[in-house]
């Protein structure tokens, strides 16, 4: 009974917490990439004389963007399939929020102990991205159609990488329950798997979050805003909110799968935060060092590098399963 109440309370607590952490990660992504480009980026401490007008800190800049979008007029184009266009951002958000319920946070196992939670979480993350494709397709804009097509192509290969690395870990640890994986111990062989599968997961995260070498679905100046071209106001704000939750969810999934047992006990919380910041830092480094790939290059890169790496993961995982 106590367990049930604790789970229910933690399910309610995790949503604002995930929003806050996701906003901080997005802020870091923006701030660090600005610093790498010799810009200042959203100010952490505003200049003294501008404080009354512009606020003391911009730590929550991504949240302000979302709030502003919620306060704006929402334009729905006449040529769009109205129902699909309007509902897909909300469905995408619901799936992203549902996914974070299955990923543990230090001190909060949430639903990660239910059977097959790894499959449920990966399915929900995939479904969330699927609705970021469906909505734009329904908008009737050629730019959105091109963006959605690129997104589908990227989605096919990046999901393959994601699935390969996630299930390599599942085979090595012989469990499909995230909680079992994240509370397991470490050994030399598993650390080796963490390095190879973690690298692949990082690459899959780049594709899922549209970070620089793989941001061709929303290539500005090339296909306007890609899938989001026709979206405005609340609907666009919902997509941005989904992105914040996805960023949190993928970072949390990475830590709970590859860096056990950080995501289990509340005492690990400082290390969890450090690991998350390092992960966001790595994503930012990749973002600022790379130009945008063409979609064909991205797919061939995935097929040449990421998929063999995924197969290597499987071999390592099988060796761990059979030998160790």
């Amino acid at each position: 009974m106590v367990d049930l109440i604790y789970t229910l309370v933690s399910l309610i607590v995790i949503v604002p917490l995930a929003l806050f952490l996701g906003v901080i990660y997005s802020y870091l992504l923006r701030k660090l990439s600005a610093r790498f480009q010799w810009r200042v980026g959203p100010m952490f401490r505003m200049y003294g004389d501008l404080k009354p007008l512009l606020g003391t800190t911009r730590l929550l800049q991504p949240l302000y963007d979302i709030l502003k979008l919620y306060g704006k007029e929402t334009v729905v184009p006449d040529v769009s399939r109205r129902r699909l266009f309007v509902y897909s951002p909300y469905l995408s958000l619901i799936f992203a929020v549902a996914a974070i319920f299955f990923i543990p946070f230090p001190g909060m196992p949430l639903l990660s102990g239910v059977p097959y939670s790894l499959i449920i979480a990966s399915y929900l993350l995939i479904a969330s991205i699927l609705f970021t494709i469906l909505g734009p397709v329904a908008s009737g804009s050629p730019w959105a159609a091109i963006g959605a097509r690129r997104e589908v192509e990227l989605f096919l290969v990046s999901e393959l990488g994601f699935v390969l690395c996630v299930f390599a870990v599942a085979i090595a640890r012989q469990s499909l329950v995230i909680w079992d994986i994240s509370s397991g111990g470490q050994s030399v062989y598993l650390a080796l798997l963490t390095v190879t599968a973690g690298a692949l997961m990082l690459v899959a995260m780049l594709g899922k979050l549209h970070i620089k070498p793989f941001d061709m679905p929303e290539a500005e100046a090339e296909i306007v805003a890609g899938p989001y071209t026709e979206y405005s106001g609340k609907l666009l704000g919902t997509y941005y909110l989904t992105k914040v939750f996805l960023l949190y969810g993928l970072v949390a999934l990475f830590i709970s799968l590859f860096l056990p047992p950080i995501a289990t006990n509340v005492l690990w919380l400082p290390i969890y935060i450090v690991a998350a910041v390092v992960l966001v830092f790595l994503l930012t480094v990749v973002q600022v060092l790379n130009p945008r790939y063409r979609i064909r290059n991205a797919i061939s890169w995935y097929l040449k590098v990421a998929i063999p790496l995924g197969v290597l993961n499987f071999v390592i995982a099988l060796v761990i399963w059979l030998v160790v």
Partner: protein
């Protein structure tokens, strides 16, 4: 001031509409977004689609062939919105604009088509002036909300 009004002031997104002209103002506008002046400090971002924008930043005088596009882009920007006209051409037509005899190709300043809220004169205006104009635009944006 509520959190929504604050958010409106904290994250103005710009859409850069180049109506026509010599590109001088566009270069200065991009300089305002580049590392030296970096307006992202204040949350200002350049967005690729007019549907995402709060502030429509127009440069140059409008050629007659471009009239429908200017109107359409203006209508696509969701409310509340502000138009900032940058450069002499966008403020008064500059040397391209003449009442009589009328130019066969050029209509003149965008104010003839769409309501402009802030004018930033200069040929071309400095990035500091453009940032100041955008800040005036943000203040107008806050007022527009207050009226509703």
């Amino acid at each position: 001031m509520g959190i929504m009004d604050k958010a409106r002031i904290y994250s103005p997104w710009l859409y850069h509409l180049h109506c026509g002209g010599c590109n001088g103002c566009d270069i200065e506008t991009l300089a305002a977004l580049a590392p030296r002046f970096d307006v992202e400090r204040f949350g200002i971002q350049l967005v690729p689609s007019p549907r995402h924008a709060d502030i429509l930043l127009t440069t140059g005088c409008v050629p007659k062939q471009f009239i429908p596009m200017v109107k359409r882009v203006y209508e696509q920007v969701p409310e509340p919105k502000v138009v900032v006209a940058v450069g002499s051409c966008a403020c008064g037509g500059s040397l391209f604009y003449d009442d009589a005899p009328e130019n066969y190709a050029i209509l003149g300043h965008p104010d003839l088509l769409i309501p402009v809220d802030v004018y930033v004169p200069g040929c071309a205006p400095k990035p500091e002036a453009i940032i100041n104009g955008v800040v005036q635009g943000i203040l107008k944006l806050a007022e527009k909300r207050a009226k509703k």
